[in-house]
């Protein structure tokens, strides 16, 4: 068990090192470029040369990489050229805003999809099953920005019930959170519901459920006591693996509703070539993804006794 966890950890750290190297390579291999991005397009050549020298950009690439990595680990993430403050000053609050959005979405979509998936999977081929399956294909197939447009058209332009932007300028309001959460939920709940359904269908077909049925156990007992426990293994792992997906969706939804979170921050940084901010955002998102993969891996081992000893979990590799 410990060896497996350590091996996983080593794998993850290795992957993160490579990713950090790629990020650094893409953004800082060309020092002239970095100088232009930091000092602006109208800076004088000798200004740039002076800046490069003052900040150690004349050192060999690998030296700079190691120093950069060390700075990253010690939370010295540089100055944002767009906001003119240290990156570490804006990133946490933006991350917190996204945390709220993602957290609410995760709760709503998990509850919704587990309930729908279990209802659908209990009676394979029933009308409930067919409806849930169809709706989940529909909602997961439509890109988030299109869902956002459709929902806005109905609830903002037509009915006028909800605000069309979620800038939270005059303080935090739950009303402004409704549409972003709804869009993200529609997109992710469908996928989760399908996984739960498939897993439930499989559990209901299994010999132990048949035995329980023949013993004369009630439907609720069969579902709650026998099928559910096994049926939930797959969805729980998928929920964690779903967070990277959610992160991509979050960027689109935040930009659409002008929500001041991590997604808009990354987007603004990218559009404005804010090198240090892009680097920090990219690294933070990688850490988030890797962390969720590790948690999902652990949960899978915890829930599935067959995998507690050794062997690689099928659904959860980093």
């Amino acid at each position: 068990m410990l060896a497996a966890v350590l091996k996983k950890l080593a794998e993850v750290v290795g992957a993160m090192l490579v990713v950090s190297f790629i990020v650094f390579l893409v953004l800082e291999a060309n020092v002239e470029d970095v100088a232009v991005k930091v000092l602006g397009a109208y800076s004088a050549p000798d200004q740039r040369a002076a800046w490069l020298e003052a900040n150690g950009y004349l050192d060999p690439f690998l030296v700079r990489y190691v120093r950069w990595l060390w700075d990253f680990v010690t939370l010295d993430w540089g100055q944002s050229t767009l906001f003119r403050v240290p990156v570490t000053e804006i990133l946490p609050q933006r991350l917190a805003m996204t945390g709220i959005l993602a957290g609410v979405t995760l709760v709503v979509s998990t509850v919704l999809s587990l309930v729908l998936g279990i209802l659908a999977g209990m009676n394979e081929g029933s009308i409930t099953d067919r409806t849930v399956s169809f709706v989940s294909v529909l909602t997961t197939s439509i890109p988030e920005f299109a869902t956002a447009v459709f929902l806005s058209a109905i609830f903002v332009f037509w009915l006028g019930w909800l605000p069309g932007a979620s800038t939270m300028i005059s303080g935090f309001t739950a009303r402004e959170l409704v549409l972003p959460v709804a869009v993200l939920t529609l997109y992710s709940a469908g996928y989760l519901a399908r996984i739960t359904r498939a897993s439930m269908v499989e559990a209901m077909r299994s010999p132990y459920v048949r035995t329980a049925l023949m013993k004369g156990a009630s439907t609720s007992r069969i579902v709650l006591q026998h099928a559910l426990r096994n049926a939930l293994i797959a969805p729980v792992t998928v929920i964690m693996l779903h967070i990277p997906w959610l992160l991509s969706g979050v960027i689109v939804v935040e930009v659409f509703f002008a929500y001041k979170g991590f997604g808009t921050l990354l987007y603004e940084a990218a559009l404005n070539s804010d090198v240090f901010l892009i680097e920090a955002c990219a690294m933070v998102s990688v850490v988030v993804v890797v962390a969720t993969q590790l948690i999902s891996d652990g949960l899978y081992r915890l829930l599935n006794p067959r995998l507690r000893v050794s062997a690689k979990p099928a659904g959860a590799t980093a």
Binding site: E11, V12, G14, A15, M16, V18, V19, I22, V23, V26, L27, V137, L138, T140, S141, I142, P143, E144, F145, A146, V149, F150, S152, A153, V156, F157, G164, P244, W245, L247, S248, I251, V252, V255, F256, L266, Y267, A270, L271, S273, I278, C281, A282, S285, V286, V288, V289, V290, Q293, T317, A318
Partner: protein, 289 residues
């Protein structure tokens, strides 16, 4: 890819066409493929020509010409732009998915067949790429290398080849354990021949399903990049960019954003339905994923 698809399609046509899911999906996708192929003949106007700004759908402009879906801020006919926009989507999504599949297939076959250190190295690379959130990766690539069709192909290949690699690798390991592969090895067939002739055709079922899904993801990706203003450079009509352009005026003129959204949703929904339908049919036939 096309070789596998036609071989399998020829084999399965009757069963596949009986599934309503497949037929509806094929119609949704078919409409836009048709539009992409024949845009110049069916589009009422030039998609780049400024005619009459901000006409509502189903109205006639000052010169009496009819705008079925209205016009945008610059007076360009939205229907014509949607039809031409289908070209961008079909071309770039198709090309990007095909490239990603070529790379993923080659890597997956090699890793699954040879195993050992080749597999370890390739799997590690795949894991590294997969620990990036996809959209962050796209934004990074597009912002660094600029927005163009070719860079979209590169970004999509880079980001989705690892996923394809994993599927192909797993399938290859499975199939390579079969007796007929052992027989082929004993016969002295070359590794490449075994991979392409013995293994690949037997992995085709799940791969066709995956290809439909990936095509959908790529379509969404191109749409999202366009929506974020990182897509194909203007004035190329593309659906995501149309949504981005129309967004500031969406309150007063929702038609500018709703129609492109309907177009892209039809396309991606059609591809999902196709994938689902084909999977159902192949499961009923007792093979495939």
């Amino acid at each position: 890819m096309t070789a596998i698809e036609t071989r399998k399609a020829g084999f399965r046509v009757p069963a596949v066409l009986k599934s309503p899911t497949v037929v509806i999906g094929a119609v949704f996708v078919g409409i836009w493929v048709f539009a992409a192929l024949f845009a110049p003949w069916i589009a009422p106007y030039d998609p780049l020509q400024s005619r009459a700004p901000l006409q509502l759908p189903m109205t006639r402009g000052p010169d009496g010409s009819l705008y079925l879906l209205g016009t945008d801020l610059l007076g360009r006919d939205i229907l014509s732009r949607l039809l031409y926009g289908a070209r961008a989507v079909v071309l770039w999504a198709g090309l990007a998915t095909a490239t990603a599949f070529t790379v993923g297939l080659a890597m997956g076959l090699v890793a699954g067949f040879y195993k050992g250190w080749v597999d370890k190295v390739l799997s590690f690379i795949a894991n590294v790429i997969l620990s990036f959130p996809v959209l962050v990766l796209y934004i990074l690539v597009i912002v660094t290398f600029g927005a163009s069709g070719l860079n979209i192909v590169l970004a999509v290949t880079f980001a989705s080849a690892p996923g394809i690699f994993r599927i192909v690798r797993a399938l290859t390991i499975d199939i390579a354990a079969q007796d007929y592969v052992a027989a082929a090895i004993v016969q002295g067939e070359s590794p490449w021949r075994i991979m392409v002739v013995e293994i690949l055709p037997n992995a085709a079922g799940p791969l066709v399903v995956d290809a439909c899904l990936r095509l959908g993801y790529t379509t969404i990706t191109i749409g999202v990049l366009g929506f974020l203003g990182l897509g194909l450079p203007p004035p190329t009509p593309d659906w995501g960019s149309m949504v981005n352009d129309g967004r500031p005026m969406a309150i007063a003129f929702p038609h500018m954003v709703i129609f492109p959204c309907i177009a892209i949703s039809m396309m991606t929904l059609g591809l999902s339905l196709l994938a689902d339908g084909i999977r159902e049919v192949s499961l009923k036939q007792g093979r495939g994923s």
